[in-house]
Protein backbone atom coordinates (compact mmCIF):
# COMPACT_ATOMS: atom_id res chain seq x y z
CA UNK A 1 0.00 0.00 0.00
CA UNK A 2 2.57 2.51 1.12
CA UNK A 3 6.29 1.96 0.79
CA UNK A 4 9.23 4.09 1.77
CA UNK A 5 12.47 3.22 0.02
CA UNK A 6 15.62 4.87 1.40
CA UNK A 7 13.72 8.11 1.85
CA UNK A 8 15.82 11.09 2.86
CA UNK A 9 14.77 14.70 3.33
CA UNK A 10 17.42 17.33 3.63
CA UNK A 11 16.86 21.05 4.09
CA UNK A 12 19.84 22.91 2.69
CA UNK A 13 23.08 21.14 3.47
CA UNK A 14 22.40 20.49 7.12
CA UNK A 15 21.63 17.27 8.91
CA UNK A 16 18.83 15.38 7.20
CA UNK A 17 15.37 15.81 8.75
CA UNK A 18 14.56 12.29 7.66
CA UNK A 19 17.43 9.92 7.01
CA UNK A 20 17.31 6.82 4.85
CA UNK A 21 13.91 5.68 5.97
CA UNK A 22 12.61 2.27 4.91
CA UNK A 23 9.15 1.09 5.80
CA UNK A 24 6.29 -0.83 4.26
CA UNK A 25 2.74 -0.29 5.39
CA UNK A 26 0.13 -2.88 4.49
CA UNK A 27 -3.38 -2.15 3.34
CA UNK A 28 -5.80 -1.59 6.20
CA UNK A 29 -3.02 -1.04 8.67
CA UNK A 30 -3.16 1.70 11.29
CA UNK A 31 0.37 2.96 11.74
CA UNK A 32 1.27 5.55 14.36
CA UNK A 33 4.41 7.65 13.94
CA UNK A 34 5.68 8.89 17.25
CA UNK A 35 8.77 10.64 18.56
CA UNK A 36 9.96 13.83 20.22
CA UNK A 37 9.41 17.07 18.30
CA UNK A 38 11.80 17.47 15.43
CA UNK A 39 12.23 13.73 14.97
CA UNK A 40 10.92 13.90 11.43
CA UNK A 41 7.58 12.20 11.93
CA UNK A 42 5.51 15.02 10.47
CA UNK A 43 8.00 15.53 7.66
CA UNK A 44 7.73 11.86 6.81
CA UNK A 45 3.97 12.08 6.67
CA UNK A 46 3.89 15.24 4.61
CA UNK A 47 6.22 13.72 2.06
CA UNK A 48 3.54 11.15 1.29
CA UNK A 49 1.15 13.70 -0.16
CA UNK A 50 3.98 15.87 -1.42
CA UNK A 51 3.35 18.82 0.85
CA UNK A 52 7.08 18.31 1.34
CA UNK A 53 9.22 16.93 -1.45
CA UNK A 54 11.49 13.95 -1.05
CA UNK A 55 15.20 14.73 -1.47
CA UNK A 56 16.38 11.18 -2.10
CA UNK A 57 14.69 7.82 -2.34
CA UNK A 58 11.17 6.98 -3.35
CA UNK A 59 7.74 6.75 -1.80
CA UNK A 60 5.33 4.35 -3.47
CA UNK A 61 1.57 4.47 -3.01
CA UNK A 62 -0.02 1.32 -4.40
CA UNK A 63 3.20 0.60 -6.20
CA UNK A 64 3.30 3.95 -7.99
CA UNK A 65 6.05 6.44 -7.28
CA UNK A 66 4.44 9.64 -5.99
CA UNK A 67 7.07 11.73 -7.75
CA UNK A 68 5.58 10.72 -11.06
CA UNK A 69 2.11 11.89 -10.10
CA UNK A 70 0.63 15.37 -10.23
CA UNK A 71 0.76 16.67 -6.63
CA UNK A 72 -2.73 18.16 -6.78
CA UNK A 73 -4.25 14.94 -8.13
CA UNK A 74 -2.25 12.91 -5.63
CA UNK A 75 -3.52 14.95 -2.68
CA UNK A 76 -7.11 14.57 -3.81
CA UNK A 77 -6.66 10.80 -3.70
CA UNK A 78 -5.25 10.80 -0.16
CA UNK A 79 -7.24 11.82 2.89
CA UNK A 80 -5.67 14.48 5.10
CA UNK A 81 -6.57 15.55 8.63
CA UNK A 82 -4.61 18.20 10.50
CA UNK A 83 -4.35 19.24 14.10
CA UNK A 84 -5.77 22.74 13.68
CA UNK A 85 -8.81 21.03 12.12
CA UNK A 86 -8.71 23.58 9.31
CA UNK A 87 -12.38 23.63 8.45
CA UNK A 88 -13.21 26.44 6.03
CA UNK A 89 -14.99 28.93 8.30
CA UNK A 90 -16.85 30.51 5.38
CA UNK A 91 -18.31 27.25 4.16
CA UNK A 92 -21.15 25.23 5.65
CA UNK A 93 -20.43 21.82 7.15
CA UNK A 94 -21.87 20.27 4.00
CA UNK A 95 -19.50 22.24 1.77
CA UNK A 96 -16.62 21.40 4.06
CA UNK A 97 -17.31 17.68 4.06
CA UNK A 98 -17.51 17.39 0.30
CA UNK A 99 -14.74 19.85 -0.45
CA UNK A 100 -12.72 17.23 -2.29
CA UNK A 101 -15.86 16.32 -4.21
CA UNK A 102 -16.15 19.95 -5.29
CA UNK A 103 -12.53 19.91 -6.41
CA UNK A 104 -13.21 16.70 -8.33
CA UNK A 105 -16.29 18.39 -9.86
CA UNK A 106 -18.92 16.00 -8.55
CA UNK A 107 -22.55 16.68 -9.34
CA UNK A 108 -24.53 18.47 -6.66
CA UNK A 109 -26.78 15.47 -5.91
CA UNK A 110 -23.78 13.22 -5.49
CA UNK A 111 -22.23 15.67 -3.04
CA UNK A 112 -25.46 16.00 -1.04
CA UNK A 113 -25.85 12.29 -0.82
CA UNK A 114 -22.25 11.76 0.23
CA UNK A 115 -22.49 14.48 2.89
CA UNK A 116 -25.58 12.87 4.42
CA UNK A 117 -24.01 9.45 4.26
CA UNK A 118 -20.88 10.63 6.03
CA UNK A 119 -22.44 12.67 8.81
CA UNK A 120 -24.33 9.54 9.87
CA UNK A 121 -21.01 7.83 10.49
CA UNK A 122 -20.28 10.14 13.40
CA UNK A 123 -23.82 10.25 14.76
CA UNK A 124 -24.40 13.93 14.14
CA UNK A 125 -27.86 15.04 12.99
CA UNK A 126 -28.31 16.01 9.33
CA UNK A 127 -29.31 19.54 10.29
CA UNK A 128 -25.67 20.14 11.13
CA UNK A 129 -24.88 20.07 7.43
CA UNK A 130 -26.23 23.60 7.09
CA UNK A 131 -24.40 25.00 10.09
CA UNK A 132 -21.10 26.80 9.98
CA UNK A 133 -17.97 25.46 11.68
CA UNK A 134 -17.96 28.08 14.43
CA UNK A 135 -21.36 26.85 15.59
CA UNK A 136 -19.87 23.46 16.44
CA UNK A 137 -17.79 22.40 19.45
CA UNK A 138 -14.14 21.50 18.98
CA UNK A 139 -14.85 17.79 19.10
CA UNK A 140 -17.64 18.07 16.56
CA UNK A 141 -15.43 20.16 14.31
CA UNK A 142 -12.73 17.53 14.30
CA UNK A 143 -15.29 14.84 13.56
CA UNK A 144 -16.16 16.87 10.48
CA UNK A 145 -12.45 17.21 9.76
CA UNK A 146 -12.18 13.43 9.73
CA UNK A 147 -15.27 13.06 7.55
CA UNK A 148 -13.84 15.54 5.09
CA UNK A 149 -10.83 13.30 4.67
CA UNK A 150 -13.14 10.34 4.02
CA UNK A 151 -15.32 12.14 1.46
CA UNK A 152 -13.75 10.83 -1.73
CA UNK A 153 -13.28 7.43 -0.12
CA UNK A 154 -9.48 7.45 -0.30
CA UNK A 155 -7.82 4.17 0.64
CA UNK A 156 -5.06 6.03 2.47
CA UNK A 157 -5.51 8.74 5.10
CA UNK A 158 -2.82 10.89 6.66
CA UNK A 159 -3.49 12.36 10.07
CA UNK A 160 -1.28 14.93 11.71
CA UNK A 161 -1.98 14.95 15.45
CA UNK A 162 -5.68 15.22 14.71
CA UNK A 163 -6.82 14.95 18.31
CA UNK A 164 -4.00 16.97 19.85
CA UNK A 165 -5.95 20.18 20.33
CA UNK A 166 -8.94 18.58 22.03
CA UNK A 167 -9.62 18.24 25.73
CA UNK A 168 -8.79 14.79 27.17
CA UNK A 169 -12.36 13.55 27.44
CA UNK A 170 -13.33 14.54 23.92
CA UNK A 171 -10.04 13.16 22.66
CA UNK A 172 -10.71 9.84 24.29
CA UNK A 173 -14.19 9.63 22.83
CA UNK A 174 -12.94 10.53 19.38
CA UNK A 175 -10.14 8.00 19.51
CA UNK A 176 -12.60 5.22 20.33
CA UNK A 177 -14.96 6.37 17.64
CA UNK A 178 -12.26 6.69 15.07
CA UNK A 179 -10.68 3.34 15.78
CA UNK A 180 -14.07 1.74 15.31
CA UNK A 181 -14.63 3.66 12.10
CA UNK A 182 -11.26 2.64 10.78
CA UNK A 183 -11.97 -1.04 11.37
CA UNK A 184 -15.32 -0.76 9.64
CA UNK A 185 -13.98 1.12 6.64
CA UNK A 186 -10.69 -0.75 6.42
CA UNK A 187 -8.62 2.32 5.61
CA UNK A 188 -4.88 2.52 5.75
CA UNK A 189 -3.98 5.21 8.24
CA UNK A 190 -0.73 7.04 8.81
CA UNK A 191 -1.19 8.78 12.12
CA UNK A 192 1.34 11.21 13.58
CA UNK A 193 1.18 11.85 17.30
CA UNK A 194 3.37 12.74 20.23
CA UNK A 195 1.03 11.08 22.70
CA UNK A 196 2.23 7.57 23.57
CA UNK A 197 -1.11 6.54 25.06
CA UNK A 198 -2.81 7.50 21.84
CA UNK A 199 -0.32 5.53 19.78
CA UNK A 200 -0.62 2.45 22.01
CA UNK A 201 -4.37 2.66 21.89
CA UNK A 202 -4.86 3.22 18.17
CA UNK A 203 -1.90 1.78 16.34
CA UNK A 204 -1.65 -1.66 14.83
CA UNK A 205 1.99 -0.83 14.56
CA UNK A 206 3.98 1.99 16.08
CA UNK A 207 6.93 3.63 14.39
CA UNK A 208 9.17 5.29 16.94
CA UNK A 209 11.44 7.90 15.40
CA UNK A 210 14.38 9.89 16.65
CA UNK A 211 16.56 12.37 14.76
CA UNK A 212 15.05 11.44 11.43
CA UNK A 213 15.56 7.73 11.84
CA UNK A 214 13.35 4.85 12.82
CA UNK A 215 14.27 3.46 16.22
CA UNK A 216 11.70 0.70 16.41
CA UNK A 217 8.70 -0.49 14.42
CA UNK A 218 6.45 -2.98 16.13
CA UNK A 219 3.07 -3.73 17.54
CA UNK A 220 2.19 -1.89 20.77
CA UNK A 221 2.49 -5.14 22.77
CA UNK A 222 5.89 -5.95 21.34
CA UNK A 223 7.16 -2.43 22.03
CA UNK A 224 5.98 -2.58 25.64
CA UNK A 225 7.44 -6.03 26.05
CA UNK A 226 10.74 -5.52 24.26
CA UNK A 227 11.68 -1.86 23.94
CA UNK A 228 14.51 -1.72 21.38
CA UNK A 229 16.77 0.47 23.47
CA UNK A 230 16.97 2.92 26.32
CA UNK A 231 15.51 5.73 24.23
CA UNK A 232 12.34 3.75 23.61
CA UNK A 233 12.15 2.76 27.27
CA UNK A 234 12.50 6.35 28.31
CA UNK A 235 10.01 7.48 25.73
CA UNK A 236 7.50 4.92 26.92
CA UNK A 237 8.07 5.99 30.48
CA UNK A 238 8.46 3.73 33.49
CA UNK A 239 4.79 3.95 34.31
CA UNK A 240 3.77 2.41 31.05
CA UNK A 241 6.39 -0.30 31.26
CA UNK A 242 5.04 -1.27 34.66
CA UNK A 243 1.49 -1.01 33.41
CA UNK A 244 2.50 -3.21 30.54
CA UNK A 245 3.74 -5.82 32.98
CA UNK A 246 0.58 -7.92 33.34
CA UNK A 247 0.94 -8.45 29.63
CA UNK A 248 4.34 -10.02 30.01
CA UNK A 249 3.75 -11.87 33.24
CA UNK A 250 3.83 -15.64 32.81
CA UNK A 251 1.53 -17.89 34.67
CA UNK A 252 4.55 -19.39 36.40
CA UNK A 253 5.05 -16.07 38.17
CA UNK A 254 1.64 -15.83 39.74
CA UNK A 255 0.61 -19.45 40.20
CA UNK A 256 0.04 -21.12 43.50
CA UNK A 257 2.87 -23.64 43.59
CA UNK A 258 1.35 -25.91 46.20
CA UNK A 259 -1.68 -27.45 44.56
CA UNK A 260 -3.56 -30.12 46.44
CA UNK A 261 -2.69 -33.43 44.83
CA UNK A 262 -2.99 -37.11 45.40
CA UNK A 263 -0.87 -39.84 43.89
CA UNK A 264 -2.16 -42.52 41.59
CA UNK A 265 -3.15 -45.54 43.61
CA UNK A 266 -4.62 -43.57 46.50
CA UNK A 267 -7.91 -44.97 47.70
CA UNK A 268 -11.06 -42.93 47.32
CA UNK A 269 -11.45 -42.89 51.02
CA UNK A 270 -8.05 -41.27 51.49
CA UNK A 271 -8.86 -38.81 48.73
CA UNK A 272 -12.06 -37.77 50.45
CA UNK A 273 -10.20 -37.27 53.70
CA UNK A 274 -7.67 -35.10 51.90
CA UNK A 275 -10.41 -33.02 50.32
CA UNK A 276 -12.03 -32.47 53.67
CA UNK A 277 -8.74 -31.60 55.39
CA UNK A 278 -7.73 -29.13 52.67
CA UNK A 279 -11.26 -27.76 52.19
CA UNK A 280 -11.27 -28.26 48.42
CA UNK A 281 -13.80 -29.85 46.09
CA UNK A 282 -11.34 -31.11 43.54
CA UNK A 283 -8.00 -32.91 43.54
CA UNK A 284 -5.25 -33.11 40.94
CA UNK A 285 -3.86 -36.56 40.40
CA UNK A 286 -0.22 -37.15 39.63
CA UNK A 287 1.94 -40.22 39.24
CA UNK A 288 5.15 -40.95 41.07
CA UNK A 289 7.11 -38.63 38.71
CA UNK A 290 4.70 -35.82 39.49
CA UNK A 291 3.32 -35.97 35.96
CA UNK A 292 -0.25 -34.72 35.80
CA UNK A 293 -2.62 -37.57 35.03
CA UNK A 294 -6.05 -36.25 35.71
CA UNK A 295 -8.36 -34.75 38.27
CA UNK A 296 -11.04 -35.84 40.60
CA UNK A 297 -13.94 -33.79 41.85
CA UNK A 298 -16.49 -34.34 44.54
CA UNK A 299 -19.22 -35.06 42.05
CA UNK A 300 -17.47 -38.00 40.40
CA UNK A 301 -16.63 -39.44 43.79
CA UNK A 302 -20.28 -39.22 44.75
CA UNK A 303 -21.33 -41.03 41.60
CA UNK A 304 -18.75 -43.80 41.79
CA UNK A 305 -18.10 -44.26 45.49
CA UNK A 306 -19.79 -47.64 45.58
CA UNK A 307 -18.19 -49.06 42.44
CA UNK A 308 -14.56 -47.98 42.69
CA UNK A 309 -11.89 -48.05 45.31
CA UNK A 310 -8.89 -46.07 43.89
CA UNK A 311 -8.68 -42.63 42.36
CA UNK A 312 -7.43 -43.71 38.91
CA UNK A 313 -10.67 -45.62 38.37
CA UNK A 314 -12.84 -42.54 38.62
CA UNK A 315 -10.55 -39.66 37.70
CA UNK A 316 -11.11 -37.54 34.60
CA UNK A 317 -8.07 -37.91 32.39
CA UNK A 318 -9.15 -35.29 29.90
CA UNK A 319 -7.58 -32.45 31.81
CA UNK A 320 -6.74 -29.07 30.43
CA UNK A 321 -3.46 -27.59 31.57
CA UNK A 322 -1.27 -24.59 30.78
CA UNK A 323 2.48 -24.44 30.44
CA UNK A 324 4.20 -22.39 33.12
CA UNK A 325 5.88 -20.23 30.45
CA UNK A 326 2.68 -19.15 28.76
CA UNK A 327 1.53 -15.57 29.15
CA UNK A 328 -0.83 -14.71 31.91
CA UNK A 329 -3.27 -12.89 29.68
CA UNK A 330 -3.54 -15.94 27.41
CA UNK A 331 -4.13 -18.17 30.40
CA UNK A 332 -6.75 -15.83 31.80
CA UNK A 333 -8.47 -15.79 28.47
CA UNK A 334 -8.57 -19.59 28.40
CA UNK A 335 -9.85 -19.91 31.94
CA UNK A 336 -12.62 -17.43 31.34
CA UNK A 337 -13.59 -18.88 28.00
CA UNK A 338 -13.83 -22.42 29.32
CA UNK A 339 -15.60 -21.34 32.46
CA UNK A 340 -13.06 -23.36 34.42
CA UNK A 341 -12.61 -22.90 38.15
CA UNK A 342 -8.91 -23.47 37.95
CA UNK A 343 -6.22 -24.54 35.59
CA UNK A 344 -3.24 -26.74 36.51
CA UNK A 345 0.19 -25.46 35.49
CA UNK A 346 2.74 -27.90 34.12
CA UNK A 347 6.36 -27.75 32.98
CA UNK A 348 7.81 -29.08 29.72
CA UNK A 349 7.64 -32.67 30.94
CA UNK A 350 3.97 -32.25 31.83
CA UNK A 351 4.92 -32.38 35.48
CA UNK A 352 2.61 -30.48 37.75
CA UNK A 353 4.20 -27.33 39.14
CA UNK A 354 1.28 -25.29 40.32
CA UNK A 355 -2.26 -24.10 39.88
CA UNK A 356 -4.03 -20.90 38.92
CA UNK A 357 -7.49 -20.55 40.36
CA UNK A 358 -10.07 -17.84 40.01
CA UNK A 359 -9.02 -16.70 43.45
CA UNK A 360 -5.46 -16.21 42.16
CA UNK A 361 -6.83 -13.96 39.42
CA UNK A 362 -8.93 -12.01 41.87
CA UNK A 363 -5.83 -11.41 43.98
CA UNK A 364 -3.99 -10.24 40.87
CA UNK A 365 -6.75 -7.81 39.98
CA UNK A 366 -6.72 -6.56 43.54
CA UNK A 367 -2.97 -6.00 43.40
CA UNK A 368 -3.26 -4.18 40.10
CA UNK A 369 -5.86 -1.82 41.47
CA UNK A 370 -4.44 -1.24 44.92
CA UNK A 371 -0.80 -1.96 44.25
CA UNK A 372 1.22 -4.67 45.86
CA UNK A 373 4.12 -2.43 46.71
CA UNK A 374 6.39 -3.85 44.04
CA UNK A 375 6.13 -0.74 41.84
CA UNK A 376 8.26 1.14 44.31
CA UNK A 377 10.79 -1.64 44.47
CA UNK A 378 11.00 -1.71 40.71
CA UNK A 379 11.43 2.00 40.43
CA UNK A 380 14.13 1.93 43.04
CA UNK A 381 15.78 -1.03 41.33
CA UNK A 382 15.61 0.78 38.03
CA UNK A 383 17.11 3.93 39.47
CA UNK A 384 20.00 1.95 40.82
Amino acid sequence: MLEFHDVTKRYGNGKPAVNNLNLTIEKGEFVCFIGPSGCGKTTTMKMVNRLIDVTEGAILVDGKNIKEQDPVELRRSIGYVIQQIGLMPHMTIRENIVLVGTLLKWRKEKKDERARELIKLVNLPEEYLDKYPHELSGGQQQRIGVLRALAANPPLILMDEPFGALDPITRDALQEEFKKLQRELNKTIVFVTHDMDEALKLGDRIVIMKDGEIVQVDTPEEILRNPANEFVEEFLGKDRLIQGRPDVTTVGQIMNSTPITVKIGTTLKAAITKMRDERVDSLLITDSDNVLRGFLDIESINNNYKKASTVEEVMETDIYSVSQDSLLRDAIHKILRRGAQYVPIVDEGHRLVGIVTRATLATLVYDTIWGDGTEFEEIVAHAE
Partner: protein, 214 residues
Protein backbone atom coordinates in the same frame (compact mmCIF):
# COMPACT_ATOMS: atom_id res chain seq x y z
CA UNK B 1 -30.22 80.18 0.10
CA UNK B 2 -33.13 79.90 -2.35
CA UNK B 3 -31.42 82.40 -4.59
CA UNK B 4 -28.29 80.33 -4.56
CA UNK B 5 -30.12 77.17 -5.60
CA UNK B 6 -31.96 79.11 -8.28
CA UNK B 7 -28.74 80.32 -9.87
CA UNK B 8 -26.41 77.39 -9.12
CA UNK B 9 -28.80 74.45 -8.65
CA UNK B 10 -28.22 72.87 -12.05
CA UNK B 11 -24.52 73.40 -11.88
CA UNK B 12 -24.43 71.85 -8.42
CA UNK B 13 -25.98 68.63 -9.67
CA UNK B 14 -23.65 68.46 -12.67
CA UNK B 15 -20.58 69.13 -10.54
CA UNK B 16 -21.64 66.57 -7.95
CA UNK B 17 -22.01 64.01 -10.71
CA UNK B 18 -18.57 64.87 -12.12
CA UNK B 19 -17.10 64.60 -8.65
CA UNK B 20 -18.62 61.20 -8.10
CA UNK B 21 -17.54 60.05 -11.55
CA UNK B 22 -13.89 61.01 -10.96
CA UNK B 23 -13.78 59.42 -7.53
CA UNK B 24 -15.52 56.20 -8.53
CA UNK B 25 -13.38 55.80 -11.64
CA UNK B 26 -10.23 56.23 -9.57
CA UNK B 27 -11.39 53.85 -6.88
CA UNK B 28 -12.41 51.19 -9.41
CA UNK B 29 -9.02 51.42 -11.03
CA UNK B 30 -7.46 51.17 -7.61
CA UNK B 31 -9.48 48.05 -6.75
CA UNK B 32 -8.66 46.42 -10.05
CA UNK B 33 -4.95 47.00 -9.61
CA UNK B 34 -4.42 46.84 -5.86
CA UNK B 35 -6.32 43.66 -5.01
CA UNK B 36 -4.55 41.37 -7.50
CA UNK B 37 -1.29 43.08 -6.63
CA UNK B 38 -1.91 42.54 -2.93
CA UNK B 39 -2.62 38.85 -3.54
CA UNK B 40 0.57 38.55 -5.56
CA UNK B 41 2.52 40.29 -2.82
CA UNK B 42 1.19 37.81 -0.26
CA UNK B 43 3.08 35.10 -2.19
CA UNK B 44 6.35 36.99 -1.71
CA UNK B 45 6.28 38.35 1.83
CA UNK B 46 9.92 39.43 1.82
CA UNK B 47 9.43 41.67 -1.15
CA UNK B 48 5.97 42.79 -0.04
CA UNK B 49 7.08 44.79 2.98
CA UNK B 50 9.56 46.79 0.94
CA UNK B 51 7.08 47.33 -1.86
CA UNK B 52 4.37 48.54 0.47
CA UNK B 53 6.69 51.02 2.15
CA UNK B 54 7.55 52.31 -1.31
CA UNK B 55 3.87 52.84 -2.12
CA UNK B 56 3.58 54.51 1.27
CA UNK B 57 6.24 57.02 0.19
CA UNK B 58 4.25 57.79 -2.97
CA UNK B 59 1.34 58.53 -0.72
CA UNK B 60 3.27 61.19 1.15
CA UNK B 61 3.78 63.31 -1.95
CA UNK B 62 1.40 66.24 -1.54
CA UNK B 63 -1.65 65.71 -3.68
CA UNK B 64 -1.44 69.14 -5.28
CA UNK B 65 2.10 68.39 -6.38
CA UNK B 66 1.16 65.06 -7.90
CA UNK B 67 -1.65 66.69 -9.82
CA UNK B 68 0.78 69.28 -11.10
CA UNK B 69 3.33 66.62 -12.10
CA UNK B 70 0.79 64.96 -14.33
CA UNK B 71 0.06 68.08 -16.35
CA UNK B 72 3.18 67.76 -18.59
CA UNK B 73 2.52 64.05 -19.10
CA UNK B 74 -1.22 63.76 -19.44
CA UNK B 75 -2.27 67.37 -19.88
CA UNK B 76 -5.30 68.65 -18.07
CA UNK B 77 -8.82 67.37 -17.69
CA UNK B 78 -10.52 64.39 -16.11
CA UNK B 79 -8.10 61.63 -17.10
CA UNK B 80 -5.00 63.00 -15.33
CA UNK B 81 -7.18 63.73 -12.31
CA UNK B 82 -8.41 60.16 -12.23
CA UNK B 83 -4.90 58.78 -12.65
CA UNK B 84 -3.50 60.94 -9.88
CA UNK B 85 -6.29 59.99 -7.50
CA UNK B 86 -5.84 56.35 -8.44
CA UNK B 87 -2.33 56.45 -6.95
CA UNK B 88 -3.77 57.61 -3.66
CA UNK B 89 -6.37 54.85 -3.61
CA UNK B 90 -3.70 52.18 -3.96
CA UNK B 91 -2.10 52.09 -0.55
CA UNK B 92 -5.04 51.33 1.75
CA UNK B 93 -6.43 48.69 -0.60
CA UNK B 94 -3.05 47.15 -1.28
CA UNK B 95 -2.05 47.00 2.35
CA UNK B 96 -5.37 45.60 3.53
CA UNK B 97 -5.40 42.97 0.80
CA UNK B 98 -1.88 41.90 1.66
CA UNK B 99 -2.54 41.80 5.39
CA UNK B 100 -5.93 40.19 4.96
CA UNK B 101 -4.54 37.37 2.84
CA UNK B 102 -1.44 36.96 4.97
CA UNK B 103 -3.48 36.63 8.14
CA UNK B 104 -5.80 33.92 6.87
CA UNK B 105 -5.52 31.02 9.30
CA UNK B 106 -2.58 28.96 7.99
CA UNK B 107 -4.26 25.77 9.17
CA UNK B 108 -7.13 26.39 6.81
CA UNK B 109 -4.79 27.10 3.90
CA UNK B 110 -2.76 23.97 4.65
CA UNK B 111 -5.92 21.89 4.90
CA UNK B 112 -7.00 23.22 1.50
CA UNK B 113 -3.66 22.43 -0.04
CA UNK B 114 -3.60 19.00 1.55
CA UNK B 115 -7.05 18.24 0.15
CA UNK B 116 -5.71 18.97 -3.30
CA UNK B 117 -6.50 22.61 -4.06
CA UNK B 118 -4.37 24.21 -6.73
CA UNK B 119 -2.81 27.57 -5.86
CA UNK B 120 -5.52 29.40 -7.79
CA UNK B 121 -8.33 27.41 -6.16
CA UNK B 122 -6.84 28.17 -2.79
CA UNK B 123 -6.94 31.90 -3.52
CA UNK B 124 -10.42 31.92 -5.01
CA UNK B 125 -12.11 29.48 -2.66
CA UNK B 126 -10.29 30.09 0.59
CA UNK B 127 -7.94 33.00 0.95
CA UNK B 128 -9.87 35.72 -0.88
CA UNK B 129 -13.27 35.03 0.71
CA UNK B 130 -11.69 34.90 4.14
CA UNK B 131 -9.73 38.10 3.63
CA UNK B 132 -12.69 39.90 2.09
CA UNK B 133 -13.85 41.80 5.19
CA UNK B 134 -10.36 43.24 5.63
CA UNK B 135 -10.04 44.07 1.94
CA UNK B 136 -13.43 45.79 1.94
CA UNK B 137 -12.39 47.90 4.91
CA UNK B 138 -9.45 49.12 2.82
CA UNK B 139 -11.71 49.94 -0.12
CA UNK B 140 -14.02 51.90 2.17
CA UNK B 141 -11.21 53.91 3.67
CA UNK B 142 -9.80 54.67 0.21
CA UNK B 143 -13.18 55.78 -1.11
CA UNK B 144 -13.84 58.22 1.69
CA UNK B 145 -10.38 59.79 1.33
CA UNK B 146 -10.69 59.96 -2.41
CA UNK B 147 -14.01 61.77 -2.41
CA UNK B 148 -12.39 64.43 -0.27
CA UNK B 149 -9.27 64.68 -2.39
CA UNK B 150 -11.25 64.76 -5.62
CA UNK B 151 -12.00 68.42 -4.94
CA UNK B 152 -8.39 69.04 -6.04
CA UNK B 153 -9.21 67.71 -9.50
CA UNK B 154 -10.65 71.14 -10.26
CA UNK B 155 -7.10 72.46 -10.00
CA UNK B 156 -6.13 70.68 -13.24
CA UNK B 157 -9.45 71.19 -14.96
CA UNK B 158 -10.98 67.91 -13.96
CA UNK B 159 -14.18 69.55 -12.79
CA UNK B 160 -16.19 68.33 -9.86
CA UNK B 161 -17.21 70.10 -6.68
CA UNK B 162 -13.72 71.53 -6.41
CA UNK B 163 -14.78 74.05 -9.05
CA UNK B 164 -17.13 75.68 -6.54
CA UNK B 165 -14.48 75.82 -3.89
CA UNK B 166 -11.84 77.38 -6.16
CA UNK B 167 -14.42 79.83 -7.54
CA UNK B 168 -15.43 80.73 -4.02
CA UNK B 169 -11.80 81.31 -3.04
CA UNK B 170 -11.12 83.45 -6.12
CA UNK B 171 -14.31 85.49 -5.86
CA UNK B 172 -14.33 85.78 -2.04
CA UNK B 173 -17.76 84.12 -1.94
CA UNK B 174 -18.07 81.89 1.14
CA UNK B 175 -21.40 80.54 -0.10
CA UNK B 176 -19.67 78.95 -3.09
CA UNK B 177 -17.03 77.35 -0.87
CA UNK B 178 -19.76 75.87 1.28
CA UNK B 179 -21.65 74.76 -1.83
CA UNK B 180 -18.56 72.72 -2.79
CA UNK B 181 -17.73 71.38 0.63
CA UNK B 182 -21.08 70.24 1.95
CA UNK B 183 -22.06 68.05 -1.02
CA UNK B 184 -18.57 66.48 -1.06
CA UNK B 185 -18.94 65.60 2.61
CA UNK B 186 -22.41 64.21 2.03
CA UNK B 187 -21.15 62.15 -0.91
CA UNK B 188 -18.36 60.73 1.24
CA UNK B 189 -20.78 59.82 4.04
CA UNK B 190 -23.21 58.15 1.65
CA UNK B 191 -20.43 56.23 -0.06
CA UNK B 192 -19.14 55.07 3.32
CA UNK B 193 -22.56 53.80 4.36
CA UNK B 194 -23.17 52.06 1.04
CA UNK B 195 -19.83 50.34 1.18
CA UNK B 196 -20.42 49.31 4.77
CA UNK B 197 -23.61 47.64 3.58
CA UNK B 198 -21.80 46.02 0.71
CA UNK B 199 -19.06 44.82 3.03
CA UNK B 200 -21.63 43.26 5.28
CA UNK B 201 -23.33 41.57 2.38
CA UNK B 202 -20.09 40.28 0.90
CA UNK B 203 -18.76 38.91 4.17
CA UNK B 204 -19.24 35.15 3.92
CA UNK B 205 -22.07 33.89 6.11
CA UNK B 206 -19.87 31.74 8.32
CA UNK B 207 -17.50 34.59 9.11
CA UNK B 208 -20.11 37.13 10.23
CA UNK B 209 -20.57 35.90 13.75
CA UNK B 210 -16.90 35.53 14.42
CA UNK B 211 -16.30 39.08 13.23
CA UNK B 212 -19.16 40.43 15.26
CA UNK B 213 -17.78 38.88 18.40
CA UNK B 214 -14.42 40.45 17.61
Amino acid sequence: MMDFFATHGNELIIKSWEHLYISVAAILLGVLVAIPLGILLSRAPNFADRFISFVGILQTIPSLAILAFFIPILGVGKLPAIIALFFYSLLPILRNTYIGIRDVNPGVVEAGKGMGMSALQSIIKVEFPMALPVIMAGVRLSTVYLIGWATLAAFIGGGGLGDFIFDGLNLYQPSLIIAGTVPATILALIADRLLANLENRMTPEGLKDSYETV
